[in-house]
């Protein structure tokens, strides 16, 4: 598949798949198995990644782990200054998060503001034993003291660049690109 002119490829489908496999193993290693473990994907990209991590963990451990979807819109810190309201989507966390080790999953870690919102959102749903963070891309430029426990790839970027993760479910082919213009 040809790339748009303004697109620079950072990871292809295989790179993504390998990174996710490694992260699955790291999560299981860090938590000594999948006991009391749950994944929560941040809408939209994080949800697809969380599903893939859950699938891999299921294959390794031969047991299902709880999987949830979190929409952080209501917890954004720019709601009162934006002129148009961002579209709300559903939060679906069909299990009690209290006393579980929650791995929050997102596609790109940038300023850290989304993760701050997600932490507040999760805390309103219960009292997890622990919250960890897994991201596919860490592109730097943090504005809050937040760090990921599991990272697919660190990518140095300039603030103006736009890192985009494309998913098979939406755009036919998995890939990560820097998109300009």
């Amino acid at each position: 598949m040809g790339l748009a002119q303004s697109e620079r490829l950072l990871m292809d489908a295989q790179d993504m798949s390998r990174a996710l496999s490694r992260i699955s193993h790291e999560i299981l290693e860090g938590n000594k198995g999948s006991q009391d473990l749950a994944l929560v994907g941040i809408r939209t990209g994080g949800v697809y990644l969380a599903q893939r991590l859950a699938m891999r963990i299921q294959q390794i451990e031969q047991r299902d782990i709880p999987l949830g979807e979190l929409d952080i819109t209501l917890y954004r810190d720019d709601l009162s200054i934006r002129k148009d309201q961002p579209e709300l989507r559903k939060t679906t966390i069909p299990f009690n998060i209290s006393d579980l080790k929650i791995v929050l999953v997102d596609d790109v870690l940038f300023t850290g503001r989304t993760i701050r919102a997600a932490l507040d959102g999760l805390m309103d749903l219960g009292r997890p034993a622990e919250i960890q963070l897994a991201v596919l891309i860490d592109r730097g430029h943090r504005q809050l003291p937040i760090r990921a426990n599991y990272v697919g790839k660190n990518i140095p970027t300039s603030r103006e660049e736009n890192v985009q993760v494309f998913f098979e479910e939406l755009e036919q082919v998995d890939r990560v690109s820097i998109v300009t213009g």
């Binding site: 709601l79 002129k83 148009d84 309201q85 939060t91």
Partner: protein, 306 residues
Amino acid sequence: MGWKRKDLLTIAELSIEEIELILTTAESLKEVGGRDIKKVPALRGKTVVNLFFEPSTRTRTSFELAAKRLSADVINFSPSTSSVVKGETLLDTARNIESMQADIIVLRHSSPGAAEHLSRFVQSSVINAGDGWHEHPTQALLDVYTIKEKKKEIQGLTIVIVGDVAHSRVARSNIVALTKLGAEVRVVAPPTMLPLYVERLGAKVYYQFEDALNGVDVIMMLRLQRERLGQALLPSIREYAKLFCLTSERLRLAKPDTIVMHPGPLNRGIEISPAVADSPAAVILDQVTNGVSVRMALMYLLSGAA
């Protein structure tokens, strides 16, 4: 699609896309009501003023709860306890409220067009919570939401509205909303309770309750407004109940999976029999629950455009 309006005044002015946006936003917000901690910070620091010139407990409470679940601050203004009894005009009252930096004013008033009038003079967003016999858009939206939740799709449904349609803003807003979304809407009542030219809104007119029930997916009962009986609309309540009370026998004339709706408060034994009101077909309490989600959705959407 983004939300562009400052106010929510009527169903008539809304496009199908806008109605869908309100419904999907409400669907996302319904989850908040099911939590242990029923509060999200989306409207933190915003002020919502309930300005009710007509008595209302459930609608006002629903708006209040919706605002509080979004973390807004809520003030309730009602005429009996305010300067309105001292002769202040609607506009002056509203301007005073606006000067206190109200972001959203929820207005109920006995004059049709009161909300629209107010919206032209204040910067705050105005939500019409009922203006005379004109419209009650949030009730229609919560009704549409409830029907959609139970029946999945509005398009192609047959819905009958029963009772005093002429004096009902709930009926008017619902007829407009449901026909817009592709449902067949029937109205049935004694002729004195049907407005002239109701067909022009897209509703089919019936006078016999039994005839109107054939093939119906949704039965929407209206409250018999007993305070209007001095207006000689009916010979007697007993006669009305005999002809228009939704009983178990009449319910059987509709489709087997029909749902029964009522905006409340119920007159048990007059427009709806206790057996029906308490039957699995009744979704009356779902309407109340969904009312909070729909009003949260509106406040969320309006506070972006303000």
